[in-house]
Structures are given as C-alpha cells and as structure tokens.
C-alpha cells in the first residue's frame, strides 16, 4: 500500500514541481517562524525553572506613592526581619553587577558580573558546586566563589580552591567554584560578601535605599502577612521618624508623601512578569515574547491555509484516481489515510527545510534578540513533534476528507473538473488569508510610523558628535575616607584640561547622568509639594554642550561662586509640579540641603522616548559631596572633522591618565540614547520582514487558487468569447469575486488590527494617533496586489484557444 501511495505521490511531485516546491517552502517558513518563536519562548520560560526554591523566594519591592516601583531597600529591614519566625532565610545583596579585573600570578581577566551578596546566597540560588563547598564559600570578607567559566579562564587546569587572587583593592581566597544549572535571574561570575561592611558604613543613613532584599519563606502562602509586616516596619521607621523630626502627625506625613506599599514578588515570576528590573540579569520582554509567538502562529496558519487550498484545488485533478480506487475497493478510510500520508510526507520535508532555515537564521536571530539560543533539548523535540502533528492534522484532514467525499459516480462520468464542491471552503480560506495579510500590512505600517515618530522626535537635547566616555579612575581613588573622595573630581578636572588641548575636541564636561538611563533619583521638596525628582549633578558647560535650552533665568556659570554650592536649575515638569509662577530665587530642598533656583530648562527626554519626562533638578557636582564618587562618564563634544584621529588621541590620554588597566570604552550619546528604544526598532524590523514573508505566502496562495479557479471556468470563458464577449468584460467577470473576498478579508481584520495596535501604542507616552490613512493605504496595497495577480492570470485565460475547450466534450 505504502509503495503504491509513494508512487502516486512522486508522480504528482514530478509534474507539479513549482507548486509543490512553493507549497513546501511556504509551510517550511511557517514552521521555521514557529520554531524561532519557540526557542525564544523556551529560553525565557526556563529562567529560574531549575531553581527548586523558586516558589519560596520573594524579592521585596517598594511601590512609592507616585506608583514608581523600586527594588532597593534600606538596611533597617535586616534586624527587624531576622526575628520573624515565618522567614527561613534572608539575603541582602548590593545592587547590580560591578566590573573589575581579577589577577592571578601573571594572568588577569576582565569580569563584568561581580556581585556583592551575603553568605546565604547559595541557599537562595543553589548553584551546583563543583569544587570547594557552599558553606565556606563566603565564610568571611576575603572569601570568594567563582563560576566554572572564570575558573577555567583564570586558572586553566589548576585547582582554584585556596588560591589567592587580587580583585578591586585586595587579596581574596577562592573557596568554591560553581556551575549555574540553567538560565538564572542572577548569574554572576564572581561572588563576594562585603555586605557586613556596607551595613556598617550605612549605619548613619539607615533609610538610604541601596540593598536588594530576598526572603525565603517557610510557607509561601504567608507572603501576604510578611508583606503587611514590612509595610508596618516602613511605617514605624520612616513615617513615624519623619513625623517626629518635622513635628507633624504621621497622618500628615502620609497625606504629604503618600503611603509606601510593599510588593513581594516570587522568583518564579521575576523574569517575565516583574514590575521592575529587580535582578541583575534584568527582565524578559513578555509583550515582545507574546508578539513573536502570536505572529509566528499567524504565519503558520497562513501557510497551512495555503497548503489546504492548494491540496483541495489539486484534488480535483485527482478525482478520477480517487473514484477508481473506490471502485476497486478502497474505503473512505483508505482514501483519507492516503491523503494524510501525503501531507505527512510534505510536512516532513517542510519541517526539515524549516529546521535548515532555523539553523541558517539562528545567528542573526540571536543577534537580534541578544541571546545565545541553540537547538537542543528533549523538550524542544517534543514540541517539534507536536507542531508536526498539529500541522499534519490541520493541513491533512481538510483535503483528505474533502477528497474522500467525492461521489464516485460523478467522478467517473467525467466533468468533475468544473465541480463547485469545496469552492466555499477554498474561498473561505482565501478570505482568511486576506485577513492575515491585511493585519500585517496595516500593523507594520503603524509600527513603522510610531518608531519613526520616536526617532524623529525633538528630544530636547542634541547628542550627535558627543562622546560618552566611561570614566573609571583606578580603584585607589575610591575606598578612601570622605574628604579624599575629591580625588576623583580632581582627576576629572585634570582630564578635562588635557582634553581641551586635543585638537578636534570642542568641549568637555561631565554629568552624573546617562541619557536614556536617568540620573539620581530622590525626593525634592518645595513648600508643601514633594516629588521624586531625577537629579543631575553636572559640571559647567554640560547643558550648553547638550544644547539643552534655558527658558528662564540662566544656566550654571563659573562666574558665580554660589553655583558650585547651592544653585539649582529645574525643568518645566518640575516647575509645573511646584505650581510656582516665579521660581527664580525660590528655594527647594534636596537630600537635606536647601538649593536656590537660578534657572528653568525646557523639558528634555531623560528616559526612553516612550516615557514621560520626569521632574528634574540640575546642580553642580560639587554641591554634594557624594556626587564626586559617582562620576562615571565624561562627555566630549567633537569638532566635525577628523574625528578618527581625535578619538585616537583621547584614547591615548585615557590609557595614560585615567586608568591604565581599564579598557577605553565610549559611545556617542545619540547612539547610546537610541538604544533605549532599540526593542521597538527591532519590532519594527521584525514586522517589516514578516510582512514581506506573509505577503509572499498569501500572494502565492492567491496565484495558485486563481489559476485553478480560472482553469475550471475555461469552458465558460470559451462560450462567452464565442458569443462575442470582449476581453475587458471577461476580465471584469473573472476578477470581481476576488475583489469581493479581498474586501471581506480586509473588513474582518479591521477590528483586531485596531484593537491590538492601539494596545501596543499604549506603551508610549509619546505616540502617534491612529489615523485612517494606514487602513486606506493597506486596502489599496492589498487590492493592487490582488488585481495584479488575478488580472494577469485572467488575461492569459482570455487569450487561449477557444476551440480547445469547446471541443473537449
């Protein structure tokens, strides 16, 4: 039986090479799309999945009165939570990864992911310890644990346990080497525990939010109780203290500052459903993941629909074969099996070709997602099998049942080619294809418009030709007592002087800010008004260099001695919040210090252009002691000509005067800023690419269907022609139904497109309005493409020999 089926299958394959190839290709693209989405999906979903504690571990997040969620907590929580019987363990960690070099003998390796955590770390993230042990790994301040990869790079084949290495400022002993079992929200290269020392140095300012806090609960269902307890702690420690200090009632403090809410977020939700980037590896983009999955399913549906359409249209040609098979004893089941078997073969080719496409496209895809996905794992192959079965079921069963229902008698009497049976199914599918194509054409158009709008938006600053150079003074500049922190600022001043000597440098300055990423966040008070401001410490000339406009008063100026002590500039948003008509000369309070407003700047985008402009204050870096140590970037504006040599000169300067060990890293501000909405640019590119694929598949489907349907109407065309119909009339007759389907498909897609794209646009504080234009444009494009295909096919038909079709019977 199989041999017989294969013979027939091969025969048809040979005789319909082009259609078969396009069909397989279409299906392969659909499957490849789904595989791509699946790889991404699996990778994201696997985050922390390996961690047996994931349901018991919670991160403490604070929701401020303005709705902003912070992951950082003050150290006071430690002593107060330690006594709680519901909490099994607590883990304090210091913020994000830091980078430094690690030295061992002659060797040194650059590390990007060093994290400072308490020794309880391994009970929260039970990495596999391959050398040493978890208990002594962080037993004191001089112990460190390193990842397997780093161990190999630093020590080669040597056993790292007990070896001394130099990191930061001192010597450490390697106590453990670990391997991270899977994707983890914390995936450090080196663990160090200096939390105790950090606690001590923070004793004075107990309410500074700079630790990440993780709790392991004995019973996760008690999370709600713990949350209330922490809220109570916040109330006792912050609200009551503030009230006492300021001589007002706690209720007045709450009325003024709002109430702080606590969120306990389980580790299992940290990757895809978190409200904030609370972990050093960051969050996954769940929306983008859903978009990818959704679009890839749509494309697979499209290609399956194509397959079904082609198969049913083709089946008419095979009606006789089916009839004969039935006569000689084939049951309906036999016929269905045969056609499903053919689909299995086609799907197998497609899935193989799909895998080839994935294999070839994976490097680009990885670059696009900034991931390192690979095809592997039994789970993946299981999913692949499910995709295969679903494809076979959906793509195979329709045509098979359709064919098996042919009435033997009609078929064998001939003339079946003009049968109307199955036409509704094919036309219905055609409408569906038009809908999907509409969705993509309009969708990608709107996405394109929005992303274009973002990139052309007036940001309020100009970042072209401004280099943002990473400023990393040697470790010896830090870790000194407070007054000496000025080292760093002094070093910067020296560098600035040197920079001005370089030909090709127009201007240099600094600011504790990263455009797109924000500045320092803290409370700003003006009379009764409080707000969480973005506070930017700068050096003179920074605003001027970035072309940030002063609209009231003046900028910071060296001429005024007070400008290095207590002058401040605010932005329009802050002004609006302060509700003050004449801000100049008024005083605001920031970090316990009173500052006098000397100017107001026009709003500029500090965060990604999708976000609102926050209220801001701008002051000179020397106004606050702590600002010194926070200088991370030097901004240098270049002259237009010979930038290459200028940059080379700057690099030389860096190597000799800033840090001899740390590599020279820079970026242009405009490019750095553009990265904040990179994901949307990617979504735009993705949508455009898929748009081409989808339109390609849909047009091929239309072409095939039009060919078959016109073929089946050849006799009608011949009769009309003999009766004197002109080509124009014929063309109209042949194409009008497709225009109708095109219109129906378009209408069906309208609402989903409008709804989903509106939802997407809600991501943006600055967004385009949806106009009717993309819809009209989409319809016209769809119509033109349809007409081109159908008319060319129809025109061919009207030119054929009439006699051939009239003689036939």
């Amino acid at each position: 039986m199989l041999k017989n089926w294969i013979t027939i299958f091969l025969y048809h394959l040979k005789n319909n090479k082009l259609f078969a190839a396009l069909n397989v290709l279409g299906l392969a693209i659909g499957i490849a799309g789904l595989i791509f989405a699946l790889l991404y999906w699996n990778d994201e979903q696997s985050y922390n999945a390996w961690n047996p504690e994931k349901e018991k571990i919670f991160q403490v997040l604070v929701e401020m009165a303005d709705g902003k969620v912070l992951a950082n907590q003050p150290p006071i929580l430690k002593s107060l939570l330690e006594q709680d019987p519901e909490i099994e363990t607590i883990l304090f960690s210091k913020g994000d990864y830091v980078n430094d070099r690690i030295y061992y003998n002659e060797k040194s390796v650059e590390l990007d992911k060093i994290i400072n955590v308490q020794s309880t770390f391994f009970s929260f993230f039970p990495f596999k310890i391959i050398k040493g042990d978890a208990i002594s790994a962080l037993k004191d301040e001089t112990s460190i644990a390193i990842s397997e990869d780093i161990a190999k790079r630093v020590f080669g084949d040597e056993n790292p346990i007990g070896k001394q290495v130099k990191v930061f400022y001192g010597m450490f002993v390697v106590r453990a080497v670990y391997q991270i079992p899977g994707n983890s929200s914390i995936a450090p290269e080196l663990l160090i525990d200096r939390i105790g020392r950090d606690f001590d140095s923070n004793k004075v300012q107990r309410d500074i939010f700079n630790f990440k806090v993780f709790l392991k609960l004995k019973d996760p269902s008690k999370a709600e109780d713990i949350k209330k307890k922490i809220e109570q702690i916040y109330y006792n420690e912050l609200t009551l203290n503030n009230a006492k200090e300021q001589g007002i009632t706690p209720d007045e403090v709450i009325k003024r500052d709002g109430r702080i809410k606590i969120i306990l977020e389980p580790l299992s939700r940290a990757r895809l459903h978190s409200v904030v980037d609370g972990y050093p590896e960051g969050r996954g983009n769940y929306q983008f993941l859903l978009i990818m999955a959704g679009l890839s399913v749509l494309i697979l549906i499209l290609s399956i629909v194509n397959y079904v359409n082609m198969a049913t249209a083709n089946a008419i040609k095979r009606a006789k074969e089916v009839g004969v098979r039935k006569i000689v004893g084939a049951s309906r089941g036999n016929i269905i099996s045969q056609f499903i078997f053919e689909t299995i073969l086609m799907s197998s080719f497609s899935i193989l070709l799909g895998l080839v496409i994935v294999e070839l496209g994976l490097p680009y895809y990885n670059e696009f997602l900034e991931k390192e996905l690979i095809i592997k794992g039994s789970e993946f192959y299981l999913q692949l099998l499910v995709i295969f079965m679903i494809t076979v079921m959906v793509a195979g069963i329709f045509p098979a049942v359709y064919v098996s229902n042919f009435e033997t008698l009609k078929v064998l009497k001939g003339n079946f080619g003009r049968s109307k049976s199955g036409v509704w199914l094919r036309n219905g599918m055609l409408v569906l294809q038009f809908s999907i194509a509409t969705f993509f054409i309009i969708g990608s158009h709107i996405v394109y418009q929005q992303v274009n709008y973002l990139s052309n938006k007036d940001l309020g600053f100009k970042g072209d030709q401004v280099m943002s150079i990473t400023f990393t003074p040697p470790a010896s500049d830090y870790y000194q007592e407070a007054p000496l922190l000025q080292n760093i600022f002094n070093r910067y001043i020296t560098i600035k002087r040197e920079l001005s000597k370089i030909k090709g440098v127009e201007q240099a300055s600094t600011g504790i800010v990263k455009f797109g990423d924000g500045a320092m966040s803290s409370n700003v008070a003006y009379k009764e008004v409080n707000f969480q401001g973005q506070n930017m410490a700068v050096d003179f000339g920074m605003l001027d260099m970035m072309k940030i406009k002063v609209i009231k008063g003046r900028g910071l100026d060296e001429k005024f001695a007070s400008d290095t002590i207590n002058s401040v500039i605010i932005n329009e948003t802050a002004l609006k919040m302060m509700k003050e008509k004449n801000p100049l000369g008024k005083e605001i309070e920031l970090l316990g210090k009173k500052l006098k407003i000397v100017g107001v700047v026009k709003d500029f985008n500090l965060f990604s252009p999708e976000d609102q402009v926050p209220p801001m204050t701008i002051f000179h870096a020397t106004s606050f002691n702590m600002s010194y140590s926070a200088i991370r970037r030097v901004y240098v504006k270049l002259k237009g000509d010979d930038m290459e040599n200028t940059i080379a000169d700057i690099e030389k300067l860096w190597a000799s005067k800033v840090n001899t060990e740390y590599p020279f890293k820079y970026d242009f501000v405009d490019k750095e800023y553009a990265r904040t909405y990179e994901t949307y640019v990617k979504q735009k590119n993705l949508f455009s690419l898929l748009n081409i694929v989808v339109i390609g598949i849909a047009l091929f489907g239309l072409f095939a269907l039009a060919s078959y349907s016109i073929q089946s109407r050849m006799k009608e065309i011949a009769i009309r022609k003999t009766l004197g119909a002109e080509t124009n009339t014929l063309l109209k007759e042949l194409s009008k139904q497709y225009i109708l389907y095109c219109a129906i498909g378009f209408l069906i897609a309208l609402f989903p497109v409008y709804y989903l794209l509106n939802k997407w646009l809600e991501n943006f504080a600055f967004r385009i309005d949806m106009t009717v234009f993309p819809f009209i444009f989409g319809f016209i494009i769809l119509l033109i493409l349809t007409l081109v295909i159908v008319l060319s096919k129809a025109y061919q038909a009207t030119k054929t020999d009439v006699l051939k079709y009239l003689k036939y019977e």
Partner: protein, 237 residues
C-alpha cells in the same frame, strides 16, 4: 446470485422527479452472461450502478448472494464491492499515474493480500490476457484495446463473483472491440457471471440473454441463439 425485486430509483431535483427505474425485477444466476440494451435514458446504466453498489435504490429489494444490499452503510457496501464485484468501464478508468502493474495490483492491496501473492496473481492474470510485456508501461502508452485488457485484468484479479461491464467496447474500434468481446466470452466460458450494458446488438449477441429497457422498465427479455458461434473457433457450453 442476484435477485432484484420491484427496484425503483427516483432522481429528485427541486422542481421535478424523474423515475430512472420503476419497479424493475430481475434474476441473474451463477454463470449467466446477461446484456442490457436500450436507448439513452432508459435506466440501464442506473441499474448497473445499483447492482455495482455505486448508487442506491429508492425502493425495492436487491439481494447479492442472498444478502440484502439496500440500506447497507457505505462501509459495508465498500466491503461487499471489493469482495464480489469487478468493473469494466467504457472509458477504462485506469489511473494514469500508475503503471499497468500497479493498476492491476490495486484491488489486491485494498483486500490486504500479501505482496508476494500479489505479484504472483498479477503476473498470472497478465499472462492470461496477453499483457505481460506491458506491465511496466503507463496507460497512456497503450492502445485502447490494450487499456481495456488492463481494465479487465484489474476487474478479474480479485476473482469477483460477478463482472459488471458498462459499454466495454464503446471507446474502441471494431477490431479492438471484438477482442474485448472475445475475452468476455472466454471468461464466461470459464464460468464467470457477467452483466453488461451495451448499445450494440452485435456485442449483445455474445451474451446468453438480452434485456431490453425503456423508460426505466424492462420491456423484454430474450434468449440469444448461438449463431455467432461461427466466429468463435472453439465451441461453448
């Protein structure tokens, strides 16, 4: 072998009813060679199709091998068909995409005959019908007569209880037509039961009994005398 009693077949469209068969009764015994004649629209093809279980009757009774066929489900019909009936058509109805060998083999596949037995049987029947040298060819490469031989081989391969032939010579020239008729006569001589629809008196004269139909009814039945035996070299019965 076949007993038909008061069989009717009515075709209904929205506006009118057409009686293709009305109250037809007919008996065919084992070893009979019966031909049905009549003008077009007389119901002869409808009768053949009902006998072949390709069409169903509106009323009446049709027993094949003492089993009632009216009202059977499609699946049972399909089973009864593949076990008992072989078809020969005017337009041969060979599958163009399959070789002669594959075409003949097809019924055996659906009857789940093992591959080695299939080969044996196909070779035997092809030898008998003189198409052994054509097994690797495709239907389009053969003459009409040869195609019909292949169709006959396919009809016979399952050793059916009855052979139904729908104008088997209709698409053939007289020489090839004659060959096919001789083939059927041979089969009959070896004990096959044959029911044949034809337009041609000449073809009908090969059979034992001719039934004449008109307007869905049987007009007459006549037993043929064997005056054509002259043309056949060996004697029959």
């Amino acid at each position: 072998m076949i007993q038909i009693k008061n069989l009717s077949r009515v075709f209904r469209t929205e506006e009118l009813e057409t009686k293709a068969l009305s109250e037809v009764s007919l008996t065919i015994n084992q070893g009979d060679f019966v031909s049905i004649m009549g003008p077009s629209g007389s119901g002869k093809s409808t009768l053949l199709n009902i006998v072949g279980l390709l069409d169903s009757a509106s009323n009446g009774s049709y027993q094949l091998l003492n089993q009632e066929m009216i009202g059977l489900k499609e699946k049972e019909k399909s089973k009864a068909r593949k076990e008992n009936i072989g078809f020969i058509f005017q337009n041969f109805n060979l599958i163009d995409e399959l070789s002669v060998y594959d075409n003949i083999e097809l019924p055996l596949i659906y009857n789940k005959v093992s591959s080695s037995v299939r080969k044996e049987k196909v070779l035997a029947i092809a030898d008998k019908l003189g198409i052994l040298h054509r097994l690797k060819h495709y239907p389009q490469q053969l003459s009409g007569g040869q195609q019909q031989r292949v169709a006959v081989a396919r009809a016979l391969i399952n050793d059916p209880k009855i052979i139904l032939a729908d104008e088997p010579t209709g698409n053939l020239d007289s020489k090839n037509g004659n060959e096919v008729m001789e083939l059927l006569t041979d089969l009959h001589a070896n004990g096959a039961t044959i029911l044949m629809v034809t337009h041609s008196d000449y073809d009908a004269s090969f059979s034992q009994k001719t039934i004449l139909m008109k307007d869905g009814m049987i007009l007459s039945e006549k037993v043929n005398n064997r005056n054509v035996d002259v043309l056949v070299t060996e004697s029959k019965n």
